[in-house]
Amino acid sequence: MTANDPSPNHLQLTRDGQLRHFLTLDGLGCELLTDILDTADSFIEVGERRIKKVPLLRGRTVVNLFFESSTRTRSTFELAAKRLSADVLNLDINTSATSKGESLSDTLLNLEAMASDMFVVRHSQSGAPHFIAESVTPGVAIINAGDGRHAHPTQAMLDMLTIRQHKGSFEGLKVAIVGDVLHSRVARSQIRALNVLGAEEVRVIAPGTLLPRGVEDLGCTVEYDMARGMRDLDVVIMLRLQKERMEGALLPSEREFYRLYGLNQDKLALAKPDCIVMHPGPINRGVEIESAVADGPQSVILNQVTNGIAIRMAVMSMAMGGQVAERQQKHSDHEGARA
């Protein structure tokens, strides 16, 4: 890899442009993202059957490697892998292995030696899945389940699936992302996905302390005033606010944040009447969203969770397909070289 190649595609795509890892949405085009959404659509039907299984990953071993705890994301990945008939191993590593002095590389090499085919990785450090895919176990398909502040591509894609189900397409859509964009890997992936899929406008609504420097360059406009920001919206996505944000002098209080940026029925009334309300969860009622809105008719928060399984099935089966195709390609290259 050269230092100046900013595209991660040499890493996550095969020579034929098939997915073999799923690390970030950066560099992936509209066609591939649409393909993921269409594949997920076909898996939604599987979830409605009496026997909710397809044999696409039969005989494959998927390891859920969660270096940061998460109940919901891990459960949906586990269910997705099981519906694809894979063998699943769940490892909540937190810091235990590293506190015993074992490096991340050593932990992963050990797991690879157990003939794993896919790692689903959640890590607190940005770039950890890239590092694993590039330097540690390039022969194992890596699915990013959230890394630091960098990316959470499956979450963004399940959000896109939810939007498409409700709005039909992305054309002409005005979407706002509200709250702690600075610390949010979800927001970064959503902004990217919405731009690629052709949304008309992506707005971020937050105070200056919760916006990363030069956020506009990601492909969004900035609005400090929520009332103005809610105008003409088709979709509003609320982000989770961590309590620690008060300590670092990023916000004065939860109360002031809720008053200014919390979504209540009055503010929602400023958007289009059919505006949908989304949240990647887990929600803080009364901090970023009012219960009446979270549970109200415009909320699609529970659809997001359902769609999470279908999106993860899609991404896992596609990446496994790319990985297997590449192994076969390498094998035939090798045979060709011998002949």
């Binding site: 890899m1 050269t2 230092a3 100046n4 190649d5 900013p6 991660p8 890493l11 950066d26 490096s103 991340l104 590389s105 890590h123 450090q125 940005s126 770039g127 950890a128 890239h130 590092f131 590039e134 330097s135 890394d147 630091g148 502040r149 960098h150 990316a151 890997r185 970064r188 990363p212 420097r213 030069g214 956020v215 360059d217 990601l218």
Partner: protein
Amino acid sequence: MSGQQYDSLKITGGTLFDGSGTETDNPGLLVRNGRIEALGSSAVNASADREFDASGCVIAPGFIDLCCNLREPGNGQKGNIASETRAAAHGGFTTVCASPETSPVNDSSAVTHLIREGADSRGSVRVLPVGAITRGLDGEMLSDMAGLKNAGCVAVGNGSRGVRNARILRRCMAYAQTFGLTVMFSPENQALAADGYAHDGGVATRLGLLGIPEVAETAAVMEMLLLAEETGVKLHLSQLSSGRSVEMLADARKRGIQVTADVAMHQLCFTEQALAGFDSRFHVRPPLRSEADRQALVAGVRDGVIDAIVSQHQPHDSAAKQAPLPATEPGLSSIESVLSLGLELVARGELERARLLTALTAGPASVLGRNARLAEGEAADLCVFAPEQSWQPSVQTLVSAGLHAPVLDRELPGRVRLTLVAGKTAWTDQR
């Protein structure tokens, strides 16, 4: 210093860069007993035990590095005086200033002596220790600066660590000034840099990396310039990364403040874009910033506002870089690539070759109150390099224990053919 010594050596052909900024043809340069005995016409007919044909090469004073980590004492897995001074010689350097950031920190004459003894017995080039400005580099208590100076430290500095507050910084400067010691500071406001490890700009925003804002440097530069003006200490600002720092430096010079500065070669060649693929090699501190910053730093060298180019060599074992980027240790193994990267700047028309060589020789020498000249009677510290020949940094070619060089996948211009330190061969590409 180890190395082979010839009673006499004559270097013929090539171009002489005499340290004053001019290049002339070399009719002959005679080295005897560690000194340049004759130069020019008087050397043409002299006979010597050995001759070196420098056709197509440039003969320059040996390069001087104001910022180098040799990792000894204490970090043997990352490098040692023998390996890293040999790497320095491979890069054309004949003198390196050893950072106080060793383990233990060089905050006492005992550690300084240890470094000097190591350099005498195992070093390939001259090693000038820089003492720690505070005890343990903790930024809280003054080090024994007079003792450090007596033991041979050429300056005192903070390595890459901050000083807790402006009051202590002011006292450090006033105390160093008492002994005429230059203070070498890498300017970084710790509170603003916080937990960051990348430039707070577009790439960090996209990749979700924790940023170090430009103001973490410029606020510290301003504070240090004002305190230097007040205390009268000789201040050397080390490892600048921001274009605005260069402006502030130029203004301070106009006001008559005694201040010099250096920049690491990688800051002149790379930007935040180098991190775009999470390449942990380019996790350096201060971080690589924007293209505008890079250009302003190059202009600073071109205009002479920045006196010296340094390697900021930081060799590591592979484990230090084998982790997700935020968990890796900062620094490049850079000393062997400085000349080559500089010659690429020359080839791109960003810097004149004479200016590059001055910033590697006379510039850093003047910061240390020394000379770097090729003249009769001077010590024979010199480097002969072939600007047209290329080499590829790799596991096979790098001498340093650190293999994370800034360029690994392509050929670089500029091959060092001979490095002499006091007439001894510290590096040669000939058998």
